[in-house]
């Protein structure tokens, strides 16, 4: 599966929350975003997965009207980012990659600032901000200046600031970057609760994050969306090699040679045999090993990961 059709062949469609049309950004000779065409449905959570410098943040910056595209355009809830930037800004909420907060304000004041800029009614504001602080576990620190907060608390407040005005679309740029596993899990749980209610475009270079949260994943590399689909689609469509891992005793050289004749790739290390081929028959391999008096401790078919998908498509490790 690849990115959407060329922008030239697509008509604006208001049933989509986000549509990009040959969206392109160039800094001098460097192409940061290369004619991206993308449709994101209302209520969908799409994750951009890619290494640092792939063009994820630049794409989001253009969609948030922070950067002007070199060419092409995008529509956010029907508003053109080049022609109606302030209408676009009314319907979006953004949590940037850096947890940028007003450090000498407290968490409630930070929330109120964003709300006022979106002209939320004072009555709603009071209720929403309290609710948001409670949801994010910050209610007991509401009056503390945020410069005294931990990284995890700042990140949660940053996400709350993206949500406080109840936007239609939320951009979350690396929402768990730099968080410890526990804090990351808490943020994931919160984002997961928003699924279906809000359209979310999330960027990450954590494949587990994309796998756990996203309805669809766009793999982005060197400014291009090189693959787009659900995690399962990507793993099944993009990976044509299957891998079986066997932990065993009494492995003989003869057995290994025989396996290498039958399968594309056979590796052995510390009593673990890894067999990869386009077709891997679990039962047949187990039977052969039994017949050769190999004692099997455990055996399983290894599920492909998004890392494998990325490697397969780009020839690079995701964390490079």
């Amino acid at each position: 599966m690849t990115a959407e059709d060329s922008g030239l062949n697509r008509e604006p469609d208001d049933s989509f929350a986000i549509q990009t049309f040959d969206l392109h950004k160039q800094f001098g000779d460097l192409v940061a975003v290369d004619n991206v065409n993308l449709d994101i449905k209302k209520g969908e959570l799409l994750a951009f997965l890619g290494p640092n410098g792939a063009g994820k943040t630049t794409t989001i910056s253009m969609l948030c009207c922070l950067l002007k595209p070199t060419s092409g355009t995008a529509r956010i809830m029907g508003y053109d980012i080049n022609k109606e930037p302030y209408r676009v800004k009314e319907v979006i909420g953004v949590s940037p990659q850096d947890t940028t907060l007003s450090e000498h304000l407290n968490s409630r004041e930070n929330l109120h600032l964003v709300s006022h800029l979106h002209q939320i009614e004072p009555k709603k504001l009071k209720t929403w901000s309290q609710l948001m602080l409670e949801k994010m576990g910050l209610a007991d620190r509401a009056k503390d200046q945020v410069r005294r907060f931990s990284g995890g608390m700042k990140r949660r407040l940053s996400i709350a600031m993206a949500l406080i005005h109840d936007p239609d679309i939320i951009f979350l740029d690396e929402p768990t970057l730099g968080l410890d596993p526990q804090a990351r899990r808490a943020v994931w749980d919160y984002i997961a609760r928003l699924k279906g209610e809000k359209t979310i475009l999330l960027t990450t270079h954590y494949m587990e994050e994309a796998d756990f949260l996203a309805d669809r994943i766009g793999i982005i590399d060197e400014g291009k969306i090189v693959a787009l689909g659900t995690a399962i689609d990507l793993k099944t469509d993009m990976i044509d090699t299957h891998t079986m891992v066997i932990h065993a005793w009494n492995i003989t050289q003869k057995m290994i040679i025989e396996m290498r004749h039958r399968y594309d790739k056979v590796e052995i290390s510390n009593g673990t045999i890894t067999i990869s081929d386009k077709k891997v028959d679990f039962k047949e391999i187990v039977d052969r090993l039994h017949d050769a008096n190999v004692t099997i401790r455990s055996a399983y078919i290894k599920e492909p990961t998004l890392e494998d998908v990325f490697l397969n498509i780009t020839g690079k490790e995701l964390r490079e």
């Binding site: 800004k89 940028t100 004041e109």
Partner: protein
């Protein structure tokens, strides 16, 4: 109003950052204390030669009564210009002036409302920048005050004509205050540059707030700080003996306009800069030469005309002139209206430019 919320936030950020606020407010305090202590009490003595070619009652009164009333002047009457020049070269005189023939008549005519000007020849060592600047300014002020009375000259007839309180601090005070406000150029853009560097501003730019609202909110919070600075400056100036002969409110208005111009320039610099370091370096590079050229420290009268013309493009030479006119000469609004409106125009233009640059640079 979005602008108001951004302003409240800027003010809170500024006031809660104790170190930054301390720097901004302590600066004028320290500055005025040091310079006030240095120039406030001490009254250096300058020996000034006077050659009276008029020999009228008016010129005699001017020499015998008005000039000696300046505490920093010791007046020596001379007859021969060559002898005066030699005394200047020897260092016995710091300057000498010639009252031309018809001086008394000129003064009388001016006092009666006739057009014209009073001409004085003043000779001094051009390399003696500070002293010569002060002497020229002092003589200028004394002569203007002298000619400003409403009745024909009879010395001591009107207390206004004898300015007894002209001291160093009277002359350098307005300059110090203008300098203090001029250096708001580097300090005023600091919060915006910090927000830029931390990318908080980028976050705010994803909201529907307009560029002018950002510029206005950052600026207004600094105007509050500027008001506090001006009050500190004026109070300390008074403490060190600076007399405000004209209206305090008019002087305050001139200072406030100067501060607004500085803040506006600071906003332009901050809009163009990418980091706090870059912005501050650029601001200092710009503001220090401008301070010197604007006559903050030395009278600009000794400078070549093209430099004065260049300095006059900027608001600060006008601010210095207007402030000195109000503070030391007691002039009213009419006398400084040209400079006043020039400052107003500058403030308006610089904010429009700042807003345009801000909106252009923030979405490149």
């Amino acid at each position: 109003m979005r602008f108001w919320q951004l302003f409240v936030r800027s003010l809170k950020e500024t006031c809660r950052d104790v170190i930054a606020l301390g720097f901004v407010l302590a600066f004028p305090l320290i500055f005025m204390l040091v310079l006030g202590a240095a120039f406030g009490d001490t009254s250096p003595s300058y020996t000034i030669g006077v050659i009276d070619n008029d020999n009228s009652q008016v010129s005699q009164g001017f020499i015998d009564e008005v000039l000696p009333a300046v505490p920093t002047f010791e007046i020596e009457t001379l007859d021969d210009p060559d002898a005066a020049l030699e005394a200047l070269r020897q260092g016995d005189l710091r300057a000498y002036m010639v009252l031309p023939e018809g001086f008394g008549q000129q003064v009388s005519q001016v006092l009666q409302g006739a057009d014209g000007n009073i001409e004085l020849d003043i000779t001094y060592d051009e390399s003696d920048l500070q002293v010569s600047g002060q002497i020229v300014s002092t003589i200028d002020t004394v002569t203007r005050t002298f000619a400003g009375i409403d009745i024909p000259i009879t010395i001591n007839a009107n207390p206004i004509n004898i300015e007894t309180e002209i001291t160093n601090i009277d002359f350098i005070g307005p300059g110090i205050i203008i300098f203090g406000l001029l250096i708001m150029i580097p300090t005023s853009g600091r919060l915006m540059l910090r927000d830029k560097e931390s990318r908080f501003l980028h976050r705010m730019l994803t909201t529907p707030a307009r560029p002018w609202e950002f510029i206005a909110s950052y600026s207004l919070s600094m105007v509050f700080i500027a008001v506090a600075q001006i009050v500190i400056f004026i109070l300390l100036g008074r403490m060190f003996g600076m007399d405000i002969i004209g209206s305090v409110w008019l002087a305050f208005a001139v200072f406030l306009l100067t501060a607004i111009c500085s803040i506006g320039i600071g906003m332009v610099v901050a809009s163009l800069s990418k980091s706090e370091n870059q912005g501050e370096s650029l601001s200092w590079l710009f503001s220090m030469p401008l301070a010197i050229l604007s006559g903050v420290w030395f009278s600009s009268e000794f400078m070549p005309s093209y430099i004065r013309t260049f300095a006059d493009i900027f608001p600060f030479s006008h601010a210095v002139e207007a402030a000195r006119t109000v503070i030391t000469r007691g002039a009213g609004f009419e006398a400084i209206s040209g400079d006043f409106f020039f400052l107003c125009g500058w403030a308006a233009v610089v904010f429009v430019i700042g807003t345009i640059l801000f909106s252009r640079t923030m979405r490149s």
